[in-house]
């Protein structure tokens, strides 16, 4: 059973069955994992670069809420949220980041190559643009096998600056493949904003529709909206009508690493201030309060439960890694 399913099982049925609270729980779970990595990063246990998903979790959770176990997902360098939302093993993810043989890639890949094919999370491809053609092959296979499953390619907005993305959109439209492309538009390619990357007049919608694909966009901070829009798109994709979605979102941490890099000044004050309203966890929390389905106390108890769960798995991964370290020491002293 996936970690998300485990956590939901631990919650009172009234909480786990309520859509908003379920979304809150999943967002909170991913946030907890990412925050734990950031806090512990200086301990040198996680020994690889990390591209944290904090601030962007709603897209992963909203889209994945409409996916079946056998649907196939491919992600990028910023893959943690997509991996966890699809149900990827948290232990094997922590272990992979530590370089442990128990990691999902046996330590061969690190954070940028997470995968868990048992839950349909097929690959993380950190070369921007390269993931979508591979996802198109997964979709082609599902179509030929007649499974009714779909493939989903999560990408960042800079993918629209790569040539192979256009090749792939053309191919997917031509072959009517069951592929959903989800653009998480956080506005930045590392530190570079769009003013140095794309002409002011460019409209993603026109590019996508011009090549023959369907397009919808929405607020990537709002998990409910993401879930609704992706539900509409996926019902089409399941009939071999490929779709591209664009969600604006906010990357809270630096491009790569455990820190907040506001002091560098490449994002404006007002942009940074907007995050307090945009934070997907706050957005869903507000909705939960407004719909009267939840209280502050209830959500705090969810927070505590998740925190303990994630901490427990983290410690398990640390112990597993320590076993390997001990074996290495023994080997080198012989």
């Amino acid at each position: 059973m996936s970690d998300i399913a485990n956590i939901l099982k631990l919650l009172p049925p009234l909480v786990s069955k309520h859509v908003l609270l379920k979304s809150y729980t999943e967002l909170r779970y991913i946030r907890e994992v990412e925050t734990l990595i950031a806090i512990n990063y200086s301990k040198q246990q996680f020994r690889c670069p990390v591209h944290l998903s904090v601030g962007q979790e709603a897209v992963a959770v909203g889209v994945s809420s409409n996916l079946k176990l056998d649907d196939k997902v491919v992600s990028t360098h910023r893959s943690h949220a997509h991996y966890l939302a699809k149900g990827g093993s948290l232990f094997r993810m922590f272990a992979e980041l530590m370089g442990s043989p128990s990691g999902c890639c046996g330590g061969r890949g690190g954070s940028m190559h997470l995968f868990d094919d048992e839950v349909g999370f097929m690959a993380s491809i950190p070369i921007v643009g390269s993931s979508t053609p591979i996802a198109s092959g997964l979709a082609y296979a599902e179509k030929r096998l007649g499974t009714g499953n779909v493939a989903v390619s999560f990408v960042g907005d800079a993918v629209l600056e790569t040539g192979v993305f256009y090749e792939t959109m053309n191919l997917v439209a031509l072959k009517s493949l069951p592929l959903l492309i989800v653009i998480e538009d956080n506005g930045y390619s590392t530190y570079a904003d769009k003013s140095v990357r794309v002409p002011k007049t460019r409209e993603i919608q026109k590019l996508v529709q011009g090549i023959g694909l369907n397009f919808l966009s929405g607020n990537g901070d709002d998990v409910t909206e993401v879930a609704q829009i992706s539900n509409v798109a996926l019902s089409e994709v399941r009939r071999n009508v490929p779709f591209v979605l664009q969600f604006e979102t906010f990357r809270r941490y630096e491009h790569c690493g455990p820190n907040i890099d506001d002091s560098l000044g490449y994002r404006t004050e007002s942009e940074l201030d907007s995050y307090t309203q945009r934070d997907p966890l706050e957005v869903v929390k507000q909705k939960a309060y407004e719909s009267d389905c939840s209280s502050i106390e209830e959500l705090s108890s969810v927070d505590i439960l998740i925190s303990e769960y994630v901490q427990g798995i983290y410690e398990e991964a640390v112990r597993s890694c320590e076993t390997s370290i001990a074996a290495l020491r023994q080997g080198s002293s012989v």
Binding site: K72, I125, S130, P133, S136, L138, Y140, V164, T168, L171
Partner: protein, 357 residues
Amino acid sequence: MKLTYIEAIKLAFDHSLAQDEKVMLFGLGVGDVGGVFGTTLGLQDKYGADRVFDIPLSENAITGMALGLSIQGFRPIMVHQRSDFSFTSAEQIINQIAKTEYMSNDRYKVPIVIRMIVGRGWGQGPTHAQAPHALFSHVPGLNVVAPASPSDGYQLLRASVNTDSPVIFIEHRWLHQTTEEFVPNDDIPDIASSKIVRSGNAATLVSLSYGVLECLKISDVFDFFGISLEVINLRSIKPWDQKTILASAGRTKKVAIWDIGHKEFGVTAEISHVIQNALFGNLLAPVERFGLPSEPTPSSPFLAIAHYEDLDRALLQLNSSFDFQINPDLLISMREKLHPHRSIFQDQPDVGEVGPF
């Protein structure tokens, strides 16, 4: 039965597609009236357009699609009518396909074949005549093979399709009209085995692809003077059959390697190092090597004469380095008698078509 190389490749495709419905065949020209020099003609009608098809001019995306298909259990074959176009998909080949088995901790199999045709002559020039086998052999995670005859082509293609790892299949355009008597069947030799195509004791000639035909001509000439050369067809370049080649080199103590690619940092350099390392002190002469210089391939037939290895130059060089002590004039006249050149230019094969091709 007597088959041309083209017919042998078409049969290998046909038999592979018939053997397993997960096998797919696509690439530029695969579904068109030319059928990639005739090697794919009729296969789309026979196996359907969802298995055998022409592609948009998007090699990089299509190669990524092949990877996605292979992870899901399909066995795609991707075709490039000229190897040079595969470089547009180098990202998918080098960064993705070569690494997928490794990164998945060996959970994924990646049974992809990428067939690349190497052009030569009649003005093919700098970007239509490259032989990239050494380049791809440098990348861990890729197998690289290069047939030298119709039976080789048939068997290596069948073996490549049956391999659960990615295979780069390097095919020389000048083999297309060569013929051979053989029975194409399911009895397929190991993909990584080389073949001793002629036994001898005076020296070992190691080669691959079209180079094997050149080495056989060299052997014919020396044979007339009572000097028998062993000719080994590598077949597989990565991995290569060290055992057979070292055993032969240990017997003859004189080795020459003939490549269809560049010498510098290439196949001849690698094999020569391994031989000289293993047999240091036992060899009677340094390893000789033949191949292309470090310059792009010229289009002009006048320039191509100096670019490609020349049989007569090679005969004289081996005669001298290996101390065979044959009168050079007799050597050249025997070559003219046994293997007369079709024209003064080195830009068309001795067997088969004349240009343009």
